[in-house]
């Protein structure tokens, strides 16, 4: 936990307001959104760990999945951050360039750890 995400996840409020799903009121979606929200901190942790290890492929794959899914579960704002990050990741020639997106990865991980239904 080199960047201290663990602290954020255990106490999301201290790093920003909770992020709610736009579909929180949709009964069709409730169960799915709940499941997605339950899984999201775990995904954020994987993303953060991959980033710390400099595993560019894994970072790109996890970011791609977030960019595809977040919007659909009512977290459009997170989806956009993930999409921008994904674009930059795909243009990278080497893992060394990962350093240039540290802030965006931080932001994405932070947002993922603040989601609530």
């Amino acid at each position: 936990m080199a960047f201290g995400w663990g602290v954020q996840m255990s106490n999301p409020e201290s790093f920003g307001p909770p992020i709610r799903s736009e579909f929180a009121g949709d009964p069709d979606m409730l169960e799915l959104v709940e499941e997605f929200v339950r899984e999201l901190p775990g995904r954020a942790a994987s993303l953060s760990a991959s980033y710390d290890q400099g595993e560019i492929e894994s970072v790109t794959r996890l970011t791609h999945q977030l960019s595809g899914a977040c919007g659909g579960y009512g977290f459009g704002e997170i989806g956009e951050v993930a999409r921008d990050l994904e674009c930059r990741l795909k243009k990278m020639g080497s893992a060394a360039e990962l350093l240039t997106v540290r802030e965006q990865v931080d932001e994405l991980v932070s947002m993922c750890s603040r989601v609530v239904v």
Partner: protein
Amino acid sequence: MTESGNNTTEFTRHRVLIIDDAEDVHRLLGARLKQERLELLSALDGRTALEMAREQDPSLVLLDLDMPGMDGFEVLRHLKASDETHEIPVIVLSGLQSPADKVTAFDLGAVDYITKPFDLMELRVRVRSALKMADLINMLAQRAHIDGLTGLYNRIAFDERWAQSTAENQRHAKPLSLAIFDLDHFKSINDTYGHPAGDEALRTFARLLQRECRQSDVPCRFGGEEFVLIMPETGPDAAAAVCNRIREALEAIEWPAHPERRVTVSCGVLGADNTATISPSDWVQATDEQLYAAKNGGRNRVMVSRADRADQSLRQTG
């Protein structure tokens, strides 16, 4: 294939194949399309997707473009290049929003393009619209192969099925027989009792043909009062027996519109137990000659000969 058979598509659940590398998207679409009464199939990568498309014959494909390994464009190319899958409509469902990607997708044969994150209502109406279009295209394709009066396959369908059947016979030396039926003195039925009586005779014979032939047989209306029956996996002797049963069943029918007059049929059969020694078109021609012999022999009879021997002597059965 009957008229009622054509309508069943409206009541069956459409099968939709979703191709996306993210499991989230599958769950999401499952929830979003729950009310549409669809059977959803999931593939997480391109290779699996192509296999499923071939084996499960979905009515619609929802395809993600940005996938690791084989990407969506590649999947689309494969789908459209294969005879088995090229008619399946594909809606691209993608996070890629550039006009160039959309143009490429349409150029490759996609019917629609939805950008992620998708709007619920938009997704539903686009899926509905694609399925409706696919149903209409299927219906037209079927209609083009169906005879309007009898509901049997028409001449166009016969040509296709006959080409397939004779190719099977050539490749695998599987038995195959062809029968041509012609209602006896049909013109006189029309002239004496009117065209409705003639139409009734055609429809009744068509129903009888369908009822008396086996599941694998293909009955078609050849035109006018001529009908053909393709009998796969059937040699000339068994084929003659089937045709005689049909001939007898027709002769036994009493007609409310003309109780004093029975309707009979003449039939020529040409069959092979092994690989045929004549071309598909000569086979039809030679079957027609058997029919001619049946007519000349006094009508209401079945004449049979072989398509897999030099000795194609005439035989009358029944």
